[in-house]
Structures are given as C-alpha cells and as structure tokens.
Symmetry: C2
Subunit: 680 residues, 2 copies
Amino acid sequence: MSIQAPKDMERERQSASFSIEALSYFWMGGKEKYIQRQAAYDYIKYDPELVVQPPRNILDFTKEEWREFTMGQIYRLVQLKEELKDNQGLFKEIVEASFNYSESLCMRNGVHETLFRSVVEMMGNNYQRTYWGKLLNDYKVIGCFAMTELGHSSALRGIETTATFDIETDEFVINSPTITSTKWWIGLAGQTATHTAVLAQTIIHGKNVGANWFIVPLRDSVSGEQFSNIRVGDIGTKVGHQGTDNGWIQFHKARVSRKNMMSKWARIDRHGTYQPAPNPAVMYATLIPERLGLVDVSTTLISQALTIAVRYGVVRRQGSKNEQIMDYQSHYAKLIPAISFMYMVKNSLSTIYQQFGILTASGKIEQKLYLDHMGDMHCMSASLKGLSGSLSASILEVCRRCCGGHTYSAYNALGHLTADWNVMTVGGGDDTVLLQQASTYLLHRLNQKIKYNAYPEFKYESSTSYFTYAEELLAAKTWHVKEVDDCLKDLSLIQEALHVILAKRLFSIQQALENGATHNDVLLDANRVAELHCAAFLYSDNARRFSAINNSSLDTSVAIIMRQMTVLWGLYVLRTYGDQGFLEGYISPQQLKDIEKAYLKLCKVLRKDVVGLTDAFGLPDFVLKAPIARYDGNIYQSYFDTILQAPNNTGVPPYHGKYIRPLTEKFSQIPLEKTRNKTQ
Amino acid sequence: MSIQAPKDMERERQSASFSIEALSYFWMGGKEKYIQRQAAYDYIKYDPELVVQPPRNILDFTKEEWREFTMGQIYRLVQLKEELKDNQGLFKEIVEASFNYSESLCMRNGVHETLFRSVVEMMGNNYQRTYWGKLLNDYKVIGCFAMTELGHSSALRGIETTATFDIETDEFVINSPTITSTKWWIGLAGQTATHTAVLAQTIIHGKNVGANWFIVPLRDSVSGEQFSNIRVGDIGTKVGHQGTDNGWIQFHKARVSRKNMMSKWARIDRHGTYQPAPNPAVMYATLIPERLGLVDVSTTLISQALTIAVRYGVVRRQGSKNEQIMDYQSHYAKLIPAISFMYMVKNSLSTIYQQFGILTASGKIEQKLYLDHMGDMHCMSASLKGLSGSLSASILEVCRRCCGGHTYSAYNALGHLTADWNVMTVGGGDDTVLLQQASTYLLHRLNQKIKYNAYPEFKYESSTSYFTYAEELLAAKTWHVKEVDDCLKDLSLIQEALHVILAKRLFSIQQALENGATHNDVLLDANRVAELHCAAFLYSDNARRFSAINNSSLDTSVAIIMRQMTVLWGLYVLRTYGDQGFLEGYISPQQLKDIEKAYLKLCKVLRKDVVGLTDAFGLPDFVLKAPIARYDGNIYQSYFDTILQAPNNTGVPPYHGKYIRPLTEKFSQIPLEKTRNKTQ
C-alpha cells in the first residue's frame, strides 16, 4: 500500500480534464503572479525566521513559542521590506506566502496593517492620516483596534468605554467604567501594541454625542512597560491563533490630546463644539473590508483543508475491493461541491472588492456615493460572511471525517487549521447577527419594489437587482424546466429558479410579518433566505463569467471546468435550499429527485478532476504541514517519520516511578516472555 | 450588566415548568444515585490528585502535564478503590464523576478497564478469563487494545499484522511486516501499557486461518523499558485527549506462548490443529459495547456543551432592547431541540444496553442467541453512533456560535470539549462506514419482508419490527394527519409518518438497485435513511415510555416535560428529514409548513424551561470549567479573574528586546502623552 500510494497520486494528476497549470494561473490571478508566489514560497521555505525548520514542528509549539515566533516573523518581514525595496512585487508575495504558512501571523500583522490602518485612513482627517500613517508604516508605532468589550460585541451601540472632553486641558479622558466595559479580544494588546485605536462614547459638556475613534498610547516605546493609567494584559490560551496576542485593556482616566479623536467625519473644536458624522454608521465602515478580508482568509484556510482531504482520499485504500476511498460517493460527492464553493467565492470576492473600490475610492470615501450604497455593500458582505461561515464549518467537518482518524493527530494540520478558522464565524461580526441584518435589508428592498414601486437606480451592480423583476418572479407558478439536465446547457435556468424562490420566500416572510408575526418569530427563516440570497449571487456572478466557453482571456480547458464548477454550485444550492422552493409549491417532488440525480451525476463526472482542482490552489507541502497530504503521495513513511521526530516520542515517561511502577512491579513476568522478549 | 446576570439566572430557574430536582433525579437514574453522585463530586473537588486546584488551570496544561496528571488520576483511583472498599457505591460514583471532569481520564482508564477487559472476557476461555482477569483487576498488568493499524481501520479484514504458529516451540510469532501494519492510535501504548491485546492474521502451517486476538507483553513491569522485539512509542500531540497516551507498536517477530491466543471461539491445539470461530464476526463483538460506550460518553460531553451555551445565553444581553440573547429564535430554537436529543439518547441507551445484556448475558455470550441477533444489535448501535456523530457535531457548532467569541477562549472549556469529542466520529468505527452497514442491514430486512415474506420472529424487540407492516406502510399515499398540532396529543401520528417515510425511501433505494444502480450510487441516500431509522427508533422508544402522562413511577412534572421533549424530537426529525417524505409525495408543502410552525411554537413554549432542562444534567461548575457558565450567573468577574490567573498574563514579554523594541524605540513619544500617562 505504501508503494501504491505515489502511483495513485500520479494517476490522479494525469486524469484531470484540464491543464492543472492553466487552472493554477487562473486561481492565482495570472501566470506572472503565480510564478512570483512560487518564488516567494521558495524564498521563505528555508528561512528559519519565517518557517519553522525540521526537526522542530510548529504544530507542537506551546503558546509561548507561538507568541514569540510570530512576532519574530513580523520583525523579519519588516527587515525584508527594506532588503527587497527594489523588488516590492516579490516582497508582497512573500508576505502573502507567509500568511498562508501561518494564520496567526496573518491575523497579528493584519491588526496593525489593516485594522489600525483602516481607522487612520478611513476615520482620520488629512493631518491624522499623514501623521499616524507614517508612524505605522515605519512600525515606530504598533497599533491595535479596541472595539469590542467583554460585555459587548455585535451590539456596538452599547459599548460602555467613555471619552470625556476636558475643556480646561483640551484633552479627552478615556475611561472604562465597569468590568463589562473592559476592551476584550484586542489583537496585539496582549504583548505588542504601543498604541490603540479605541471606540468610545464621546461625552462633551456632560452629554453623550455618540461613538468616536481615539488613538491612545498603551506602552512605552522603549521599555514596553504599560502606562500607569492603562491596565492591559494578554487573554491567554485560545482555541487557535496562539501566535496572536489577543488582549484586554482597561482605561483608568487615561488622557489624550483632543487631536487624537479621529476627525474625518465628526469634529470637535477647542471650545467643545461638536459636529457629528453625517451618519453614525460610518464609524463602523472599517468593518466591511475587515469582513471581506475574513472571507478571503477563510477561503485560504478551507482550500488547505480540502487539499489535505483530497490527497489523502486518493491514496488511502479501503473496503472489500481495496478501493481508493475517494471512489465512494460519500467522499467525492461531499468534497467536490465544497471545492466548487472555493472557486465561486474566490471569483466573486474580486467582484465585490471591485464594487467596494468604487464606493470608497481606495480609502478616500466619497460621502454621498458611499452612504447611498452602503446598505447594499453591507448586505453583500454580511450575507457572504454568513454563508461562508456556515458552509465552511460543514466543509471542515467533511474534510475531518474524510481523513478518518488521521487528522486527529495534530501533525496532520487539520485540527490546527480548524482551530484557527473557528474565529471566523464570531469575529468581525457574528454570522447570525449579520444574516439577520442582511435579511432585513432584503425585506426592505423587496418592499420598496412591491409596495412603492420606487426602486432606486444603482450606479453600480446591486446584489438585489433581481428585485427589478419582483412581480414576474412572484407570479411564477412552477419551475418550467423541461429536463433538469438542461441546466447544464442553459445557465439561466437555475438562476431563474433561485430568484423566484428568493422572491417568494421573502414575500411569505413579509406576509407573516404583516399578519402579526414579530421579526423574531421569522428569524430562522429570514436568515436562511439571506444565505440563499448570497448563494444565488455567487451563482449569478459566476454564470455571467463562464456561461460562454469562448472567453478569449481564458484557457479553454479552464473555461470548461469553471463552467462545470458553476453548474455544480447551482445544483448544490438548489438541492440544499430545495425545500424552500417546495414550500412555495414552485418545485415538485420529481424535480427535486431530478436535481439530486443531476447533482450526483455531475459529481461523478468530476471525480477524475479532484486532485487537479485542488492542486491548482498551489499550496506547497510545507504550507500544508500534513504528511498525509504530501504532493508525491508517499504519505505513510512521512507521517511515521513526523511522529518519530516529536518530543518525548519514546522511552520511559518521567512519571513512571511515581504512578506506573508502584502498580505493575507486583506482577512477576511469565518466564517465557521474560526470556524471549528481552528489554532493550 | 454584571449585576443583572445573577438575577437573570435566578429568574430562569424559577420559570421552569417542572421540578428541576425531580428531573435531576430522573436524569441520573434515581434520587439515591443522584445524591451519591453529588457526594462524589464533593469528594473529588478538593482532591489535588483528581482535580486541578486553582490558580492552576487544567485548560492551560501542556501535553506533558496532561499525560502525567491523567496517570496520577488513575493511580489515585486505584488507591481509592482499596480505601473505599466498604463503600463501593461511592467509589463507583467517584470514578464516574472523575470521568465527567476529564474525558482523557475516561478514555485512558477505559482502554484498560473496558477494551482490554472485553477481549479477556468476551474472547478468552475460562482459564484466560480467570488468569488475565485477576491481573488486570489488580493493575499488575496494564493492558491496551491493538486493533487498528496505520493503513487499516474500518476495513479490519485487511489488517496486516501476523501471528505465525511455530510448532517447534509451541509459540506464536507476532510480526509487523510493513510500515502500514504498524499498530496505530493504540491508547496506553504510548507510555503506560505493560501488555497489549493484538488483533493479527493467524498463520498456521503456512495458511492464513483468519484474525485472532493475542496477548503480548510490551514493557518490563519493573523498569518500564520496552522489550527488544517490540518497538513502541507515543503518537504525540493530538487534537484533543492530551491525557491519553495513544501510541504505535511494531512487532519484530515477538514470541508469545500458544496459550496467549484468546480461545473462547477459535482454538488451536499443540499440533496446530485449528478450530475456527463459528462466525468470524464474533472477533469484533467487543466493538458493539465500545460503540455504545462512545455514544454514552458523547452524551456526557454534549450535555456539558449545552449547559455552557444555555447558561451564557440567559445572562448575556444584547440588541436594541438589551434582550437576553436566549430570547432570539436563532438561539432557543436551536438549543432546545438539541437538549431533547440528549434526553432521547440517554433514555434509549438504557433500552439498548438492556437488549445487549440479554444477548451477551453479561459477558458470557450464548453463541446461538448472540449470532441470531447480532445483525440487529449492530444496526442499532451503528446507526446510533452515526446519528449521534453528525448531530452532536452540529450541536457543538451551535453551542460554540451561541457563545459568540467567548468560547474562543480556552478557559471557557468548549474548545477543549469539542477537541476531545472529535474522536467520537472516527474512533470506534467510522460513522460513514457504520451508517452504510446499517443501511445494508435495513435493505436486507425490508427485502426479506417484501420479497420472501419470511420475516423471522425476534426473541427481543428488534429496531426493525416496523417492517412487519411494510406492505401497509408502502401503500400509504399521504400523511393523513388533520392538524399537525394533533401530533402533540397523539404520539403515534409522527411515528407512523416516520415509518412510512422509512419504508418508502428504502423501497426506492431497493428499486434503484434493481434498475442497475450500484450500492455506491445510492450511498448518500442510504446513509441518510439509516440515520432516519435511528432517529425514528429514538422517537418510538421514548413515545412508548412517555405517551401516557400517568406513569406511576415518575413525578408528574417530569412525565409532562419528557413527553414534550419526545414530541419536539419527533417534530425535529420530521422537519429535518421532511425532504425524504416529500420526495415520496407523502408529505405536502402545507404539511411541511405546519410542521415547521408546530416545531417553532413548541420551542417557544419550552423557552422558559431551558435552564431547568440543563440544570438537570447535574454538572457542577468545576466539571464545566467555564466561567461564562457559572451556576450563579456571575460570569464576567469570574471570567476576568480566570484570565488574570493565566501564566504570563501581564508584563513585558521575554522577546520584547529582540523583536519589538528595535522597531518602536525609534519613535519619540508625544510629550503630552509621556507626561500624563506615566509608566508604572
């Protein structure tokens, strides 16, 4: 079996129906970028400050080792930025490659580089952007993002930290009045940050004028000691992300200059005259890129998990005919749709980022444009995070089970991956709350169309543009597809079905509300519709890209497989949310059976492509860290060798004399055994 | 908020519609047992050898600390067995209480006490049972259970380890011929076991006569050194169960006496004459109690997770009206059905254990009776493990999300719990494979009834007895319930629906197979039916117990809530597997809508009972280990104090001078900040 495995792996690569190389370029966003990324992987692979070198195994690190190693990686990246100043393209790829190697690094670095930066860039006035921007670029200031509190996360309007204006000294006094107001989960607050951006209730002349962002120094830049009016600490051991020093902060009337209030939107002058933001929601605008970033990171992690499960699945053999376990329907029909989800999200994220770029003009937000479309952008990003959260959780569970017991070993990385990933559903906005907000927006939109017929035009493509045809959608009686197999030829058939189901389900909810149900009574239903809205958006966006094979810019084999991925995704969505269509009488039992049939058939067709589809994610073995997912298929020896390198793998344990020997020494070994099997 | 929380908790207790005390007794199996268990918790709570004492926190332990502490617990339990020899009732409860405190202990102890013991008791002849039984009782021998191999787990018939009979020396030579034959995951092999039971292919006179169990010594009883023909080691860091020393074993022609072959079923004499077992399946009979045991343990872990999520959910407040988050439909309608599953499984496990007891006569298996009904027992235990696996995984995910970010802290125990639990789906038989086996049995049974009408009588209640009415079930056109709400009055309505759906789905699968589909083509479908079979069995078994309220032996309030739990479970099953019903045209869209409505309504009714239902699990705070789930509701201070006790919580990290200061010392602090916020 150990000799068979590499042959199996090789044969799987041969069987792909497309050029794996071309698909790899596509996944990475172009040949040039792909080559640069591989160069970056080669660059970091043997750098002991970026990648842990054998025989040490990062998957065996203690929390303390993680904390130190991750800060060392950041330090090394700061050095490399200078060393590679003539090759910033390679440097950028090295950063990304290092993030793929360590999600803790990605998060710890991201708090300073993305979260803290976004407060400066999106909330600061011109002076603040220049002043703090330079300091943070040079890492002279290391910043964190103190938003959530021990007692408040999703309900940000309830935060308790106060910033009280002291007109005499022209300062704000930052204070944590209760234990629940302790800033909590703050990445980099634990051990690293010199400064923090703080969201606090602003009290001026005794009156709460709303939340604003303040920059507050936490620790001395030389000694690292915390300031006396600040109490700050590390949150300790977490489920994952041991390399990120999440911390807590309490402010004991700490004072900062009035100029430390971020003043792009709201302003305060020397006399305490306060000009509020045009819309309080802009204070949370940084959360949209954060949310999209989390979905992006999530895709990276899940694609690693899928690569592990797929590679193990094709070399593991089991059953009465010693089949590759990947040949079981329970394997391939769960993994391949999950892979299609990766491609859907990756492609559509670029659409959404593009839209977000239009709205924010790369950080220089134009107020009117932004405020007009923030709702739609919020709905898109919120429902995507919600769908990605629940689906990714199931995919991780599928991957885990597809590897049998072997991912219960820490050395096959999946446990670590999952532990890191778990923060995605609760950090950056709780998924349940986000879906609820998205569904509220959808109801509002449908209502606008149906009730008032006052559907405003969009300057950019809205995710809800299908409501333009709401009346037609609601009037549809049954899904008028002749054969479900036609969906493979005409991609609009599934799109139509999904939009009809969406409109009908939303309308049903709307009616229930009109008949006296509370929003809470329809919460689960509404959240499910928000997920479906996003799933349908992914389908439409990809169908738009791939419905025509003769797409000039794409390798033909890539275009074909992307089209198949899109159809598979569409069938998956129909199958998963099919009950929603059935509830409305729009989809018949026979159609549901046919959808299932078409779905399973397409999965079976794609079985041969499974290794190619995940190879295209382009993840080297040292990034995957899982011997059972070795590229060359030689998994068993490599796995066993990894175990042998683990600390304290063999020998008598230190507590033998204390706990084991007192029990067992009373037993006289049977002579035969004693003589034949000598102790070493 | 921190003052409100304890009041909220108290009010929740007041609102329960039943006597929490009476339900606690019921859950524990009687008042006497309940009191004994609480006494056991009190006994161990301050015992530093059984329970880690503050300020140390077991959730911060390294792998090495876990390994040692867990063996120390076992040693302490062996001492207590002697100390409490006049109060074995209390001792037994202390063991159970300690297992609830540490799943690693439960597993590590269970390998010796259950797995190794079951080989001796179920596979040994009279002499072997007496000889090894005494040694293992006294812990003079510590045994492990070497079944799975690196390359073989579910497909046990493919195991490669050999036991070759050497007629000259009257010995067996145990050998690991390949790397994939390395015994893998073997609990206690890592550091503890002196002996192992080994499943090996038996070679006699050059011929493989099938698998048998052999007892092989591994380590010297005094020195703890491994024997020279054995190579054994620890498997290292795992996702969970760091206290269990799972290991690997390679045999290099290790020799044992012929008498070390377990000989209840198969026998070999001095001349190498081999008498095989009546049915090779008996070699794996120990797996049924192991499997049931895992479901039992799983229930313990999931009930802990639910208690954590429920208690946090009633004291956490959020949203525009500062509601208890438990009041959101997305909270209570996910948690309460999960709680009903706990009660269903707990009740039905006792039914199954009773059945298993009949078959095995407490270890002294009667061959004919056992072989006749092993198939049904296998189907029952396999489908239960499969259903419990997938449902428990979702419940854990629900619990995790219901706690927002706070279970991402290791100190709120849920991450640890989940990591320990994860082994349940892949250990003791892979759930997917088990469901496949169960569905094969179900198809076989249905076929017997339909095709041959030769359905054998059962001496005990079979889980498939509903097939007796297979023809009627198949003839049913639509679910003839008038109002879905009637299901709350007449418990047979749901039972009938479930049995009809089961029969129809199985028949559809059977027809697909007759029309040329392979078993693999219908695998997902068939596994889903096997899950539904088990879900229906749980419903029927509980409906039988609780359909009449006037159950003399039960407190009336307990009988009423158990009846509600049963109905809720039934509605949950109908809702979850409803698609199976509408695929067959048996359930209409309107019925499906009404099922959802009745389900949500009942969840809402039971909202007030949520704390009482989980309080009844009777788990003390030190067992739960989660400050956010404190019994008294005072969660925030307790959580913060726990963080403060964690090692390295505050102060300058040791790597500050190496990685942080070189970056930040270039920054001159703004004078105002420097003067006002002094360093400590």
